[in-house]
Amino acid sequence: MEQLLNALKKAKNIAAWKVNATKTESCELFYVQKKVETNRATSTVDYSVTIYVDVDGKRGQSSFTVYPYMGEEEIASLIEENVFNAQFTLNAYFDLPHPSDNAVHNVESNLAEAPFNEIIGKIGEAIMKANDVENASLSATEIFLYKDNVRVINSSGVDASSNTYSCKIETIPNYVKGKEEFELYKAISFATFNPAELTEKVAEVISLVRDRANAEQMKPLDSIPVILEDEEAAEFFGAFYYDLDYRAAYMHSNLFSIGDNLQPNREGDALNVKLLPFVRGALASSYVDSDGVSLKEVTLIKDGIVTSRHGSFRFGYYLGEKEPTGMVPILSVAPGKSSFGDFKKGPYLRCVRFSGIQADLYSGFLGGEVRLGYYFDGEKEIPVTGFSIQANFNQARQTFRSSKEEVILDRYSGPKYVYIPGVKVL
């Protein structure tokens, strides 16, 4: 790093620079069913560098990667090559962020309390403890423990860094019913390890795959209220995040602008969406973005009205924002007043596992193939599978209701359930 900073400081013809350094140590464990197949450890470092040149009031930039093997001479030669390249990319001038939070952020985690290869064993044990249900098993489990040090430095004086610990798990529960077998996918992530909680989460997924095995073929319906939950609830609200990015506005590809009413015909809950830098339990939390912008809370949508945009410092600068937000990572949606129980008072189709939901503001399409759902016809609830749902997203944003129960995911904090009336089942 010192060699890189020296080379940048000595370089001629550059107006500004930025370095993003990422050091990662990991410990990884791969199970085939209940048995260990492979384990891994990593210790890696990368430096991503951007240099900026100014010509006739315009600013050009070029990015490259510096590896640990490179000496000062090789780095200097790379800088020179990229100064040359940057002169071909003269865009409207933009400034770089100036320092406002040069702290080192250490996010507390009990994953730091023992060596990784010791902790990963305990995590494995907590998962396998749930793997003891008749006819059910985990086909495969992967555990990734990370210690990340991320640092951003620029020529305007920004020098901020963070140290974080995280665990990411992928597990595939399998259920045998007669000659047929069924599976589901589950990703679990956390920064604080609680063995009992982890066992419970895995047990919950195993119970879901048992339901998939016992599920009936869902019948086509012209219209039914659908309940989305967790990741799919986050996807529903996330569609607005991308449209309100400065970049979309600068590229003229946005649908909505500040002051627009997203719910002119609202029949359901009002949309209230904020962006937050830090939410405990949300792994994407960050106090500083990759440009070095110190991140703060942003209100994107209030009572259905767009109140601000968000996005990178560069595109915010282009749009004339006095204080560009930077890339604030957590989408925070206000909970509703209804409970999950309220949503279940009449017929409904609760969709708990999708192949991948599509929530597209631009085509108006909301839907996808559902691997497990629960259908309540007004009398009894049954697990169902083998169907797709389709709704008009532009209509759904007028009519949805969100639950007062909340969930925290890696990039989302908000209603755990979203209730959408009038959905077609295929």
Binding site: T24, C27, E28, L29, F30, V32, Q33, K35, V36, E37, T38, N39, R40, A41, S43, T44, V45, D46, S48, G60, Q61, T65, Y67, P68, Y69, N82, N85, F88, T89, L90, N91, N117, E118, G121, S139, E170, E181, F182, E183, Y185, Y250, M251, H252, S253, L255, S355, Q358, Y362, S363, G364, F365, G367, G368, E369, R371, G386, Q390, N392, K424, L426
Partner: protein, 467 residues
């Protein structure tokens, strides 16, 4: 040109293999250095940066007598080799409680093999200025096509992979390059905002640009047509898939299910169907880095296994799957050169490479004429595998309606294909003579582990649920 850096570290890695081989019965080191650049020109700005595939480092894989262990590191020098050796030995130690319950494994075969495989860029190499000039010309043509096009984008991406693989007895090196030129038009009117894209890709600057330039009009017109796209009336229809959607079916609906690490984990329904019928007799399907020439064509995989052309389905009968080295070891089969890593920092899994259906005997025109009411489906948006239960989710960017053998002019977008994989493959009733490989894809395993892949084939006529 092969990485000078990797050349300079080759002997050190050989030495490390020798040292570790005194303790462990199988040791390999993969060194990988991927360089390149990406250049993007849009209506409002120009950017130059690194290729997405960039990486430089090493991964040591060894059999510790019980399990396979790996250690990934970014640099090795004469001064740090002792420390790296110690880290490999110490940081991969697992608690006894875990080791006491492991998959039964054995050391991999280490047949002597030496080879250097180099595939240079074909034709003229363009300078940065020339690339920018050509991209700007594409961008300007898109922009000028129609006032409703509010944003035009042209991009160039090149990555050059150098890699070596060394064991006690093996010493392999390879170098190859892939170039993609992509373009996108964003159209806007009172109906909303719609976009369309396409690309040219090859190991030649000239060919990639020529392919992309030939697609400009189609990209622009499709973006404009999409402004009037409707949502499809859900139902079961006759479909004709363009080669992109044919490839999506080959890859997502079926290909993931024959990745044999899924067999090991008991995650693939296809294992029960080996040597049985899984598709219409018209269907033949291949995968392999050597099966055709595209973005996933290499000489050896990240396990040091030479590239293959694997015949997966012949005359509708499932022949075999594809595998990485550790999965093959567990299954007692030969690896097929499909062990791939997202980067040296990640584990090797069984991954697809170039996956496609073989051409048939029909013409596209005959196929369209045979449709009473249905859709021709175009351009992959995304897809998701379900290897155990064979449900389909394939999302097509758009479809064009066909009635009584003719296009009606109606366009629908997006189109989600769903259903049961064998039903779809069994319903294939016509296969065209065409053969197009889409050489610019990225594929994840589940929701991570991204690698470059291609897929494609002919036009297919089938029947499927659309929504």
């Amino acid at each position: 040109m092969y990485s000078q850096y990797l050349s300079s570290r080759h002997d050190l890695c050989k030495e490390l293999v020798e040292r570790l081989s005194k303790t462990y019965p199988f040791v390999s080191i993969l060194g990988k250095h991927v360089t390149g650049k990406s250049i993007q020109v849009t209506t409002v700005n120009t950017n130059i940066g690194d290729t997405m595939e960039k990486q430089c480092g090493f991964v040591c894989k060894f059999f510790n007598g019980q399990t396979y262990s790996e250690y990934s590191f970014s640099e090795i020098t004469p001064e740090t080799i002792d420390q790296i050796e110690a880290d490999i030995r110490n940081k991969t130690i697992l608690p006894e409680s875990l080791l006491s319950n492991h998959v039964p494994l054995a050391p991999m075969e280490d047949e002597p093999m030496k080879g250097e495989f180099f595939r240079p860029v074909e034709g003229k190499i363009f300078s940065t200025a020339e690339i920018l000039e050509k991209l700007t010309a594409i961008k300007d043509k898109i922009q000028a096509f129609d006032p409703r096009i509010v944003q035009a984008m042209a991009s160039f991406s090149l990555y050059e992979t150098s890699a070596f693989f060394v064991t006690k007895n093996r010493d392999l090196a390879q170098n190859y390059t892939w170039i993609t030129v992509a373009e996108m038009a964003i159209a806007r009117d009172e109906n909303g905002v719609k976009r369309n894209y396409d690309f040219g890709a090859s190991n030649s600057y000239e060919q990639s640009f020529e392919e992309a330039e030939a697609l400009i009009e189609k990209v622009c017109q499709t973006a404009l047509d999409l402004l009037h796209a409707e949502m499809i009336e859900p139902g079961v229809y006759d479909i004709i898939t363009d080669p992109s959607i044919t490839g999506l079916i080959a890859h997502e609906a079926f290909g993931h299910g024959v990745e044999m690490d899924m067999f090991v984990k008991n995650r693939a329904k296809s294992r029960e169907y080996l040597n049985k019928r899984v598709a219409s007799p018209l269907v033949e399907m291949h995968d392999g880095a050597k099966a055709t020439f595209s973005c996933a064509s290499y000489f050896f995989d990240d396990d040091g296994v030479l590239a293959h052309d694997t015949l997966i389905i012949k005359d509708g009968i499932l022949q075999t799957g594809i595998s990485d080295a550790v999965s093959a070891l567990q299954l007692g089969t030969a690896p097929t050169g499909n062990g791939r890593r997202e980067s040296y920092k990640r584990k090797a899994y069984t991954r697809m490479t170039n996956t496609f259906f073989s051409p048939g005997s029909s013409t596209k025109e005959e196929m369209i004429a045979s449709v009473k009411h249905g859709y021709m489906l175009f351009q992959t948006d995304n897809g998701m595998e379900d290897p155990k239960n064979w449900n389909i989710q394939c999302v097509c960017a758009y479809g064009r309606e066909i009635k009584d053998g003719k296009f009606t002019g109606k366009i629908v977008s997006p189109v989600v294909m769903s259903g049961y994989v064998p039903d779809l493959l069994e319903s294939i009733s016509m296969v065209s003579k065409d053969f197009v490989i889409e050489g610019s894809g990225h594929c994840g395993k589940g929701y991570k582990e991204w690698v470059t892949v291609s897929d494609g084939g002919p036009y297919l006529k089938a029947r499927c649920k659309l929504g």
